[in-house]
Symmetry: none
Subunit: 188 residues, 4 copies
DNA sequence: CGATAACCGAGACGGTACGTCCTGTCTTTCG
DNA sequence: CGAAAGACAGGACGTACCGTCTCGGTTATCG
């Protein structure tokens, strides 16, 4: 490390925390750099020095939150793994506001969209891909079925319901989706 | 009609057209009421009088555009209907910018989200529901399969790919999705 | 009179009354054509048809109010006339808000300034001029003293105090001013 | 001085200059915050941060302009002092537009009226008061004559003519007014 | 141990869009 | 054709944030 005062870990934490609190209290739409800085007792410059946009702050906060969370179940069979995976996914719905806000930002800002994909979405896809890979090896998935499409179906339904809110995202929904997928992929 | 100058259809058209042009040129994120008003040669007040937000302007423009477009195919069989429906859906992708912008707005603004659901999303779901309803009557869908979940799967995949852009939304994708769904729903 | 519906005297009265009431309640600065029209139950066009600006409405209302008020005292001597004139002038101070508002408008709008001069200010000057004319004939004013300057002194002091509000405009003030003027003009 | 970027003297000057230029070109009535900001190359917020209204901007500009100008003549006699004072006052008539605009604003806005009185009007009165005070000491003013009334007469006539514009404000006018005042105050 | 350098908080800066208000004009229906 | 109603284009308002900048001050490395 060169000379100069090192980055303040205290400021970083204060900013991430402030961002999550502001988001929780007022919603993503009302989130502002000014507001985060004020609540964190930080200067705006300090935020801009380390994050290119407020969405990146929230994404960092989310990644911190969800750091150790992506546990890939390995129950020995596809149905069990899928059920466990979806149940775990739905359990984190305290993050609904965060996820929906970040997706909105990603839809509006291509630069952030790339970061969101790489650091969040694709990490989740990889977990599901691992589950499906094991199922393929076990012969639980018929030939000619593209696992990537299955991933799209799972996350498509999850995100669609998360965003539209017209149907629940609970364990029953998980089981129903698992059942449908099994009918689709099971060799016969 | 009461007294007073009636609403100007010319102004309405100018505003909707201006909104779409601005969106096309600069993207949804850069869309502003000022910009729309200036390009339309309209006063801002005239916009605010009839639409609560810029998103509602764009939604109106979209509904005008897509007015007669929701044609429900009736080819006599589920596979044919699904293929035709998805092909028709994907063909309208000139609307990608519009749809993604409106979804972003819906994620940020609950009031607009309700309008978007009622006037756009649910109308599309209804079309698909009709197709599936006919398939159920024909016995092409096994008992115990909830058509609403199928709708979520179709639009989930469509929206997920529309938003993330990691995979194509073309006729091949449509056929692949159709095939997967048929495997899932066909009685045996 | 030509054909067509004649001007509505009822509307005219409603507008003048509404203008004075709005002025009284919210002050001249907050006076708007919209507000006057709304309170009068009149259309804005009706106001614009007959008055070029809100100031002209208020001026009309003032002239109606003060119509018969300019009574020129004729007590037989300059001191008595002056005292009576000033006392009468000061007595109308319920019009303070109106006068100050109109003067403000006249300072900002040359077109209205002309109307204000002709229809109000110069009418008042004429009254005072008549008093001074009689005093000259009676030999109460020394040669070489320009009555116009005396008028400026009287109305200058009145308006200055009316505007600045640093000193009272009451009968004592009138007597003090009268005394000063007499010392200045009395031949010796 | 506390922390934070200090106020920009350059911006302050640019704003005051822009205000005077706009006023000169388009008149006080057409003066707008937007216009001043645009011409000064400043943000509107920067103006609102330091001045509550456009009138306060112009008042600051005037005070800057007239800073060292209030020179109280001391010629040794009341007639000479008065003549010199009035001549000096009338000589500044390049400020007519400014003064009339500020007075209009003061008539419409009590908050600004207070500032205008304290920072401009009363400062001018004080100068005249000093002249009259010396005259009293010299015995040039008869007992029982209130100097404050004399100040009202002088500034009353000046402002009345400034506003109405029916009579000139030149050296001849000054001499005529001086003569009248002397007749009024000279002991006999 | 002092110079240098990068950080920090604070807050002013030039901008841009917001949503509201009012202006003066226009286009209806009604009497 | 006057009048009430109310929509229209236009433009200023005062506010909120943006992202940048310029302060004084702090905390590290390195000569």
């Amino acid at each position: 490390m060169g000379p100069g005062r090192p980055r303040s870990e205290k400021a970083r934490q204060a900013i991430l925390t402030a961002a999550l609190e502001e988001l929780e209290e007022h919603g993503y739409a009302a989130l502002t750099m000014q507001g985060i800085a004020a609540r964190a007792g930080a200067g705006k410059q300090t935020i801009y020095r380390w994050w290119p946009s407020k969405a990146d702050v929230v994404l960092d906060a989310l990644v911190d939150l969800a750091a150790a969370r992506i546990t890939v179940p390995d129950e020995g069979s596809l149905p069990a793994d899928l059920d466990a995976f979806l149940a775990a996914t739905f359990r984190e719905r305290g993050q609904r506001k965060i996820l929906v806000g970040l997706m909105a930002e990603a839809l509006l800002d291509p630069a952030f969209a790339a970061a969101f994909r790489e650091r969040f979405l694709f990490a989740r896809r990889a977990a599901l891909r691992e589950i499906l890979g094991r199922a393929v090896e076990r012969g639980e998935i018929a030939d000619g079925i593209d696992p990537e499409l299955l991933i799209d179906v799972v996350y498509g339904v999850v995100w669609y319901r998360l965003m539209i809110g017209h149907a629940p995202l609970d364990e029953a929904a998980g089981r129903e989706l698992t059942a449908l997928l099994l009918r689709a992929v099971t060799p016969r």
